[in-house]
């Protein structure tokens, strides 16, 4: 995924040459504040000063919940205004800029007034902006992280023919992030017009000379981002109940980290605590159904926790284990139907992008059917996530995982270093997976491949518990082979499930009279195509299993993960992680 994003960024650099060629703007931060008309009069030279035009505007800054645009060095600005006076239609201008303020792409769309801003990449008009955003944003929603209330004052400097040669503008206002408002430091801009750069240089030169201001090196929006970051540190949950952006700290939660010599008991308590934090931080996003990734990450944290409980039971207090295993199993089960429908919807969106507009139109009823089914499944999920059982589960987990909870260091195994305990289990699961895989031939039932896939998921999660304790260059080759094998097994199973689901959806739609023959035929053709892809993935299994299971890999694996004889760790307090 990161590779894709990097590729997109490289593409951006190439594209930037082709984007709208606005001449460079020069900005000053006036100190103390000076009236724009006075600046214009002083700096105009032979040009005429036109009357100032004042306006105010609301700019929305958007990013994905995990701030993918910011990480990619980009920002998305949306500005909405009525199509005309008293018009019931609004024009939304969207502009993608890099962090230096340089335009990358822009687009505009018309919506009925008071419509929300576009939320997903697919909601944007086709064109450069969508092309640039798609590989970075993927399936994530675009959320508002800040709103700017800007006051603009603009003065045109005209030549003898009345032609504008330079524009001077002053921007001030405030930024609102998470309900907290901050003043924006005023800026004076000198905007050249293409072909008249010399006039702008002369005006900027006079401002430097007469007012003693140096040109700002940083774009105004970069400064605003810093204000936004400072405000974002305020937990949104204390301000209102809207889902907040996921911070860097939240991102780290999904990759549990512990120190090398941490005793296994307290380390697992810490890891399970981090995973529970992830579950809780994603819950509001799941409830609000912001995008499919909230539920996906919610479920990954559940599966990781279940793996810890199943595979490392010896290092957990017995009482905690029994209760938590049952509740995690329940939570995994109740979130399944909604996630399955999310996956089907994402697959349909990808399919629609790959076919002709006519074929896409034919598949529309399937999209409607999936969205209706998803809405029903989501309503049921909401009941579960707001249930007494869920709240009791969280309370119970927190009690078991509390710093002063007992039973996390009361046996020898719980006092062993985490790397040794998990390493031993990783090796055991790897050996089992190799044995299981070796029994799979070309005619083996799909069930065996599915079991192997589950085993490999457990192996992957176990490795992730301690991956930061192992040198990257040693773990990377193995992880690469594991991921390739998981991908092939995932394709075999997911494509089979998707094919079956398509047939089921077709029947449901036909029974409900929601599909015409064209749609049913298109669904059938798509299912056939998926079946072919599944068969091709099945053939690839032997090819990708062999390097995963060969002697060389097994040897390297043992050298990386096998617990080495270590002196027993001294008894440490349960809070030491």
């Amino acid at each position: 995924m990161t590779g894709q994003r990097n590729a997109a960024l490289n593409g951006l650099n190439a594209r930037s040459i082709q984007t709208y060629l606005a001449a460079a703007t020069i900005e000053f931060a006036p100190s103390p504040p000076v009236d724009l008309a006075q600046i214009a009069e002083q700096a105009r030279g032979a040009l005429q000063v036109a009357p100032a035009i004042r306006s105010s505007r609301l700019v929305t800054l958007m990013d994905t919940p995990d701030q993918r645009l910011d990480r990619a060095g980009l920002r998305l600005e949306a500005e909405s205004f009525p199509r005309a006076k008293r018009s019931k239609t609004s024009v939304i201008n969207l502009k993608l800029r890099d962090l230096t303020g340089q335009d990358r792409a822009e687009t505009s769309l018309e919506r009925p007034s008071a419509s929300p801003l576009p939320r997903f990449c697919d909601d944007l008009p086709e064109g450069p902006l969508q092309d640039l955003l798609r590989p970075i944003v993927e399936m994530r929603a675009l959320l508002t992280w800040a709103t700017l209330r800007l006051k603009d004052s603009q003065i045109a400097l005209r030549d003898r023919n009345g032609k504008i040669r330079v524009r001077l503008s002053q921007v001030s206002g405030e930024i609102e992030v998470n309900g907290v408002r901050s003043q924006i430091p005023a800026r004076v801009r000198v905007d050249p017009l293409k072909g008249y750069g010399a006039n702008a240089d002369a005006v900027a030169g006079r401002i430097r000379r007469d007012f003693g201001w140096a040109a700002c090196e940083e774009d105004l929006m970069v400064g605003l981002r810093r204000i936004g970051m400072a405000v974002e540190a305020v937990p949104l949950m204390q301000v209102n109940r809207k889902p907040r952006l996921i911070t860097d700290a939240d991102m780290e939660d999904t990759e549990p980290k512990v120190a090398l010599e941490t005793p296994a008991g307290p380390a697992m308590r810490h890891i399970l605590g981090q995973l529970l934090d992830t579950i809780e931080s994603r819950r509001d996003g799941v409830i609000a159904d912001i995008d499919s990734e909230f539920l996906h990450e919610f479920r990954v944290a559940i599966r990781r926790s279940r793996t810890a409980l199943q595979q490392l039971g010896d290092v957990l207090p017995a009482q905690a284990q029994a209760r938590m295993r049952e509740d995690y199993r329940w939570l995994g089960a109740v979130t399944g139907p909604t996630r399955d429908l999310d996956v089907h919807i994402l697959a349909l969106q990808a399919q629609i992008r790959s076919v002709s507009p006519e074929q896409a139109r034919i598949l529309e009823p399937l999209g409607t059917h999936l969205k209706d089914s998803k809405a029903r499944a989501h309503r049921t999920l909401l009941k579960d996530l707001n249930s007494t059982r869920y709240n009791a589960f969280i309370t119970c987990c927190r009690t078991f995982l509390a710093a002063d909870a007992q039973g996390w260091s009361d046996t020898d195994i719980k006092r062993h270093p985490i790397s040794s305990v998990v390493g031993k289990q990783i090796e055991r699961v790897y050996r089992k997976a190799v044995r299981q895989g070796a029994r799979i031939g070309p005619d083996t039932e799909a069930e065996a491949l599915h079991d192997l896939r589950k085993k490999l998921k457990k192996l992957r999660y176990l490795i992730e518990f301690i991956r930061y304790l192992v040198p990257k260059d040693r773990i990377r080759p193995f992880l690469k082979k594991l991921k390739t094998l998981q991908q092939v097994l995932g394709d075999v199973q997911d494509l089979e499930i998707q094919t079956e689901a398509l047939h089921r959806f077709g029947h449901e739609m036909a029974q409900a009279g929601k599909a015409n023959p064209d749609t049913l035929m298109a669904i059938g053709a798509w299912a056939e195509d998926l079946n072919r892809k599944r068969a091709a993935a099945r053939v690839r299994f032997a090819e990708v299993f062999e390097p995963f299971a060969d002697r060389e890999t097994a040897r390297a694996f043992r050298a990386t993960f096998s617990p080495k004889p270590r002196p027993q760790a001294p008894h440490v307090g349960e809070t030491a992680v």
């Binding site: 594209r15 082709q18 984007t19 709208y20 024009v91 201008n93 023919n161 009345g162 032609k163």
Partner: protein, 247 residues
């Protein structure tokens, strides 16, 4: 980038008003627009208050000696730029004739701008010449303003025949009526009868209006100084029609 050309063999039919007003409407709606003033009279440049002179003149333009980017001037309107006319464009035919594959020269010159602009609007001089041939090969569509008079209709028929003879099948013809005076019976008759022979005609008509003549006084597109007039509204509708046809 879509290349549109405002063209008619006949003069005084509203070609420049069409190019300037449609370009302004498109830019106001968010498109990045470049107007290229190919007419040595430089009326489009005049409307945008830009001096009708370019570095290296017509020769620099046609030979590619001067980078096209360097010839572009920003207008007073957001997202709307102009390559101004030059009096040397009166010899553009001769200059093109000296080049290899002269009819494809303009398209080649404009190609590097395709990532910078969404719309390129060519304001053409009235005539059938090497310049117009180069325009026909460069443009995706010709916007053909027609005054509802017999002579004007005749010139359109000539254009249709020329397109057929030159096998310019990919070039869309988008005729529409301009300077329509509904008080005149002949205007009404021609406007009503024309679609039977030429169903490609756009449904929007630009009415005869003195405010269009005021563009020369205000030196600005209608949308900038008279946005609420019937003529300005007609250009907005016309642009919507053109977008539907051109995509």
């Amino acid at each position: 980038m879509k290349i549109l050309a405002s063209y008619n063999i006949k003069g005084g039919v509203g070609k420049t008003a069409t190019a300037v007003n449609l370009a302004h409407v498109a830019a106001a709606q968010g498109a990045r627009v470049l107007v290229v003033d190919l007419d040595p009279q430089g009326a489009a440049s005049f409307y945008f208050r830009v001096k009708p002179k370019i570095k290296g003149g017509g020769k620099g333009l046609v030979t590619g000696k001067h980078d096209l980017e360097d010839l572009i001037k920003g207008t007073d309107h957001d997202r709307l730029d102009l390559i101004p006319a030059d009096f040397s464009f009166r010899n553009l035919d001769l200059l093109l004739d000296a080049e290899k594959k002269s009819e494809k020269r303009l398209r080649k010159l404009l190609r590097p701008l395709s990532g910078t602009y969404d719309i390129c609007m060519l304001d053409c001089p009235p005539s059938v010449s090497l310049v117009s041939e180069a325009v026909f090969h460069a443009a995706d569509a010709l916007l053909v303003p027609l005054i509802p008079t017999t002579l004007s209709i005749r010139t359109y028929e000539q254009l249709v025949a020329f397109r057929k003879d030159e096998k310019l099948k990919d070039l869309k013809l988008l005729p529409f009526f301009s300077m329509v005076d509904r008080r005149k019976a002949m205007h009404r008759e021609i406007v009503e009868g024309f679609p039977d022979r030429h169903p490609e005609v756009l449904s929007t008509q630009i009415p005869y209006a003195s405010v269009v003549e005021r563009m020369g006084v205000e030196r600005a597109p209608l949308g900038a100084f008279a946005p609420r007039t019937a003529a300005a509204a007609a250009y907005e509708t016309l642009w919507a029609d053109v977008r539907k046809r051109v995509g």
